[in-house]
Symmetry: none
């Protein structure tokens, strides 16, 4: 790998382009300008598009008819680096140690999108052009929910018309194992509040004669699942598409030991999930109902003998094909209302939701990507789903009408979003090869 | 009432003498010093007795042989004021509105013990002495279980030998209705913590395969009761003594409408309690299992898609004759352990506990108190039990061999332990008269 690659990667990483905190806004903009300048320097036509938030960098080659059009998406913004004291070196002063680059954004997403940029650079240097029509969209708001990307896609729907979208912002199932993520779970949020008396009450003076909202909430939350981890909300699973046999079989053969790895990573005393499904199936293909937070009454030190006035819980549901987030939330609301204990009232507030995603890795483009990844890594491709949500892939489908291939380069121990985030140079190099191979294969 | 009474009462209330939270320790001590100074100022011999926790104020007149000896007990510590936003005026800046004084501790117990102090002051000013030998014990740990009072009583068993104990830390059944509480519930505390993973986890990446401690806690708490409000812990009711007929009948005739009053006072949408018992029976003679507080995961604004690492609940149990707090807690622990969901661990920490109390209101001193209260209020005395706990009355019985007469001055809407705690000046005045009448009657 050329020395200049690492120098430029480090420059990219030094911008503290934290999108969630207004105090970094100038750094975010400076980072966008640097990215745009880099893309212009490799002969792409590049511009910075203003949004109501942070700007989007949009670069393209000269499109010629008769060629396939590929959109590559990435983001140049990063998560906040806190807590700083957990970092072994400053988060915005990248260092190379034993083949790993440590910095905030090293993996998520600067390292991954930069490997694509370097791949494009090499192809252009070799051939003076790319084998496909290319649009490169690198946004600055992924870590804050991509609030302005949808409008950008809608406003430029025609110019951004493409055959397929490539995104490297997901994980590899194991080191040196090329991975296509063809499915994601969606998410839906619901906040519930149970209220009894109008104020906290003395549990001696009133206890026994007035309902306890914390107990009532617990009682209600306990009805969400049965003892085997199945969600007990009537109708919840009605629209869940069963796993295909090839997925079930393929996942069993992946070169990982998911149970051992998850136990080690989480430190949980044991794994627990829905009976009848493996760990990977539970995360990748089964919906969940999770309590993300709950609270009520006195949580400070010592004892306070109150009957709380109210108690609340924040719930999210991971949804899978072919569930609809709004339908699921309505079912849950009906169920909770039905299981409300006497003597309290219930308020429910629906939060944000995003759909699941599923594409066919055996489609024409999926197969092309598989061939390319096999070539770049010299290893068979792992076909996986992921348990998280990437709302923008649905935007690409709904607004641009294009499927997305998620060909991520992150490893499980890259510590995205955490202290000591890192990216192996080996993956940067693999990404450069992957970009070239994928564009070649997609060109047909 | 003299102006100085109100001024001094306000000074007393301004001390944030919150005993449960270490950060108030200096204020607690300052409050004790002020109380001791006040007692010295009315010619009692007063001193501050150190304990391993907060200090005890101990004052007395010169004891003379041939007189009855009376011990008056109260406490100068208060409950925490949270949640602060519910107070109409700051909890430690007392205000007088329409005859009611609003402040934390206004009723519980500063207002009540202060009315005794003022009664003593008037008698001493009038007669240069009291009609009885008096010990006045005002402690600083009532709200945290009076952990050090027992040792104090034991250490001073001989000096504190007395015929009867007076405590005004309970309620009046209705305004202007003198009330003797002859029974109390006990209390036992248990804190439980459920732990899954060692850190909060991303609910997309891990959700479904790792247990959710908040959900596990809810599931466990839901097993404490059945749908009819009965406690579902096996053996919980085994030692509960049935109500006497005279109590059941007497309570029906009390000059109150408990259901209507409780609904109005609490603003609860409906009453709820154990099937088969009236509201008064539920509070005064039946045990409870209450969630005083619970928490886990993200409780801030918006959504955070985490699987919490842990969740906790603070429980207390009100116990009644002839239950034993330690037995009850052991039964609950066994029950919770048995109902622990898979994939999480459970820690249980037993907190303070205090026994129930039951005395005979028709004893010699009980009858004397009835006569005095009838004189002070010009109305027949209501004989009731209370739902709260005053563990120290058992200490008085067990250590000093003395029965306690609970002659409280709190009204149902005084909001002890809640925001906007208040005390009517009318009750402060009644307390002054009551103190004088009771000491006179007990003198015989």
């Amino acid at each position: 790998m050329r020395d200049t690659y690492l120098e430029e990667y480090f420059i990219f990483l030094r911008f503290p382009s934290v999108s969630t905190d207004e105090k970094y806004a100038d750094n975010v903009r400076a980072c966008a300008e640097w990215v745009s300048g880099k893309l212009a320097a490799i002969s792409l036509e590049s511009k910075i598009v203003r949004t109501r938030g942070h700007p989007i960098v949009w670069a393209r080659n000269k499109h010629r008819s008769g060629r396939r059009t590929v959109l590559i998406y990435g983001h140049y913004d990063v998560q906040p680096p806190d807590p700083l004291e957990l970092w072994d070196s400053p988060p915005f002063e990248p260092v190379l140690k034993n083949g790993y680059v440590f910095a905030r954004g090293a993996t998520d997403n600067k390292g991954q999108i930069f490997s694509h940029i370097l791949g494009l650079q090499e192809t252009i240097e070799k051939n003076s052009d790319l084998p496909v029509n290319l649009d490169l969209i690198i946004e600055g708001e992924e870590e804050v929910g991509s609030q302005n990307l949808g409008k950008f896609l809608t406003d430029n729907r025609d110019a951004l018309k493409c055959d397929v979208v490539l995104v490297s912002d997901t994980g590899m199932i194991a080191p040196r194992t090329p991975t296509i993520s063809y499915g994601l779970r969606g998410v839906a949020a619901l906040e519930i509040k149970v209220t009894g008396a109008q104020m906290d009450l003395h549990s001696g003076i009133f206890g026994g004669a007035v309902a306890n909202p914390a107990a009532a909430l617990a009682r209600m939350l306990a009805t969400l699942h049965d003892a085997n981890g199945h969600i007990a909300v009537p109708g919840f699973y009605d629209d869940v598409a069963p796993l295909q046999d090839w997925e079930r079989e393929g996942w069993k053969k992946l070169p990982i030991d998911p149970d051992a790895e998850m136990l080690k990573e989480t430190g949980a005393p044991a794994l627990f999930g829905e009976e009848g499904y493996s760990t990977l199936e539970r995360i990748w293909a089964r919906p969940t109902a999770e309590v993300n937070g709950m609270g009520g009454g006195y949580q400070g030190p010592g004892t306070k003998t109150v009957l709380p006035s109210h108690a609340m819980a924040k719930l999210t549901f991971r949804v899978v094909p072919n569930q609809r987030a709004d339908v699921v939330v309505d079912l849950v609301k009906e169920h909770l209302q039905k299981n409300l204990a006497p003597g309290v009232t219930l308020e429910m507030t629906t939060g944000h939701h995003g759909p699941w995603y599923l594409t066919d890795p055996h489609s024409k483009f999926g197969k092309a990507a598989q061939r390319a990844l096999k070539k770049a890594f010299n290893k068979d491709v792992a076909l996986i789903r992921e348990g998280g949500s990437i709302p923008i892939v649905s935007d690409f489908r709904n607004i641009l009408g294009a499927e997305t291939l998620l060909i991520g380069l992150a490893l499980a121990n890259c510590r995205a979003h955490s202290a000591n985030e890192n990216f192996p140079l080996e993956n940067l190099e693999a990404g450069i090869r992957m970009n070239q191979a994928v564009l070649q294969e997609l060109a047909g």
